[in-house]
Symmetry: C2
Subunit: 404 residues, 2 copies
Amino acid sequence: MLPKGFKVGGICSGIAKKDEKKDLALFVSESPASAAGMFTKNLVKAAPVLVDIERLRKGNKFFGIVANSGCANACTGVKGEEDAKNMCLMIEKSLNLNIGSILCASTGVIGQHLNISNEKFWRSVDLLKNNIGVSIENENDAVLAIMTTDTFVKKVSRKIEVEKGEIKIWGCVKGAGMIHPNMCGPLTGLHATMLSFILTDAEIESNPLQKILENSSENSFNCVSVDGDTSTNDTVIVLANGQSGTGKLSKLNLEKFEKTLDEVTIELAQCVAKDGEGATKFIEIEVRNTRTKMDARLIASTVATSPLFKTAIFGADANWGRILAAVGRSGVMFDVSKLDIYIGSIKTFKNGKVLNFSEEAAKESLLKKEIKVVIDLKAGKEDGKYYTCDFSYDYVRINSVYRS
Amino acid sequence: MLPKGFKVGGICSGIAKKDEKKDLALFVSESPASAAGMFTKNLVKAAPVLVDIERLRKGNKFFGIVANSGCANACTGVKGEEDAKNMCLMIEKSLNLNIGSILCASTGVIGQHLNISNEKFWRSVDLLKNNIGVSIENENDAVLAIMTTDTFVKKVSRKIEVEKGEIKIWGCVKGAGMIHPNMCGPLTGLHATMLSFILTDAEIESNPLQKILENSSENSFNCVSVDGDTSTNDTVIVLANGQSGTGKLSKLNLEKFEKTLDEVTIELAQCVAKDGEGATKFIEIEVRNTRTKMDARLIASTVATSPLFKTAIFGADANWGRILAAVGRSGVMFDVSKLDIYIGSIKTFKNGKVLNFSEEAAKESLLKKEIKVVIDLKAGKEDGKYYTCDFSYDYVRINSVYRS
């Protein structure tokens, strides 16, 4: 269920997709909302990313987000930025809002221009304005309109009980390929295609909201990989309109909010890995007891992006040697004689030695839909996780014919 | 044709492979040879790598290399190192050589022990001794005995004319998967499975030979990637026995030798990419006009390991946007408005702008067996290349069923 004061929707506008699929989504608040954003660190940034960064840096309040699928509006130069601003402008005009009060996002093929100047698109914007709402159908339409190779609608919602009532957080995400988000905020960043929009009726200023989003993204969106390819368009935007009526968050409630937002972002990130292009299995890689957080992340991401590991899991092969080889090339120094590796429910390697495990039991364990790999370095007290998927024939099929 | 004083051969010994395929190779010199080696920087190093590093650090002369396929003898602890030394010892005894005068290498499944203690293996060593020679058949047997998922015999030879006669260089390589060598010499290194053995009858001491090999590897073996996975076993060994009779190399002839060795190592490295697991196309990525060599290497290796780029090439799709996205996430700073990208014979992107190119011509160009990608940053005077291959259904097939 959407937080108070928000309406969403999605239609087929012809802006990008040639078939009759939905390609334009709108997320709007009836009152001005604080906003926070995370954007790709890829040096090559899509036009909508550049527009959002510029708008968020100004520190205004915002009324919503317009997003399209089918065309990434990336590497499109000056015209691309104009198109992105015009996409916002049409919504701003249609809803009688100030210029600059709408944020935008795109996903799809790189290097193509948005089909924005045709009359059909102008009519579409009015259609969209009349097709936003608060129903489950509206939610699904909005998410469908930002999907590319995604196979299911990915959305999460939570409620937080506070003294004066309840706060809602609703989030959605799209993304299945070119997924290895590496994002930072608009102030630090010069710089997938993962798009995630999170709406909340909590009352919170933009600055603390930005800080909370950055922390939350670090252990969720920035810890998911489908193929190791960081997109030019990765975008996460949170809008907080304060309409819950519960007032400014107390320190205790702020902590509750942070914790709940973490649940939402982690679940959304996991959804992306579960819907990874061609994925038949979801994999969680947990690295334990490292000296630093960075060590844990480096090891987890190296394993999560190893084609040999990911094809082995597709084949339900408990090939721990490939995990070990990936850990060894991660750049992290460690003592192999202390290392443990568990795959699924099977302990394969302990204190640097191969264990006698049942290959049949391992195979059975790896035929499950969700696989957990644990790598324990016993070198310190830090840990980290990465969410990924296996590497199947379908990944190759999807990506060898994507553009044509 | 082998350089003077060398004999090679390969047999089926039962040391590792269960079928009747050749799995044990021997490369020997009739006189003591200078030696140089490059070994994986993977923190997890196979037993034969540790044994070779120890032996090369002592700076002795060597009589040969024994190598097996089917079992990597990696993550096998103290017993693994004993097995590697025993593999050498059997050859040393059989040929009446000093202990420590044979080097060794292994490739295959990680975490399994060599099947070295059985009687069949002891008999095999004598068989091997009697099956080495200088014929093309002997060369092929030796290379076949180190192959795993390789589909063809990879060897290269060159002659260098000098005043007093001619010097020969002969090299072979195996490797198709877990290929992203990152190697250094035995002195600097703590640290694929790519194995390469290079034999020459040039007269050259170990120290200059090591330096020449390190330089040569940097632009050849360390610039090839099949899947981005750096092995625990990558090994390159050069033996120089001086039997050409052309005497100590003059400065001019040393330069000729270096140049010719570069030709050999680059051709061997290219062979590895051409025979990459499941490869249908060989890809050369050339990055031009970067500020530093490291910038060129970083960009080239990021593109070479991008699953999205590699699947697009498999699909003969001129998806330059994926190349641009990879360049953008490489970590190198550059000016997009100066960037050019050529795929095959097609110019797709110039000075930061998409060019109008014929998709049909691009498709035709990408249906060729060898594809060259050029990325020009126009930021400096350095350049660099990477050799790789496309990413096909067969890569997934080979690696999802490899161990079982």
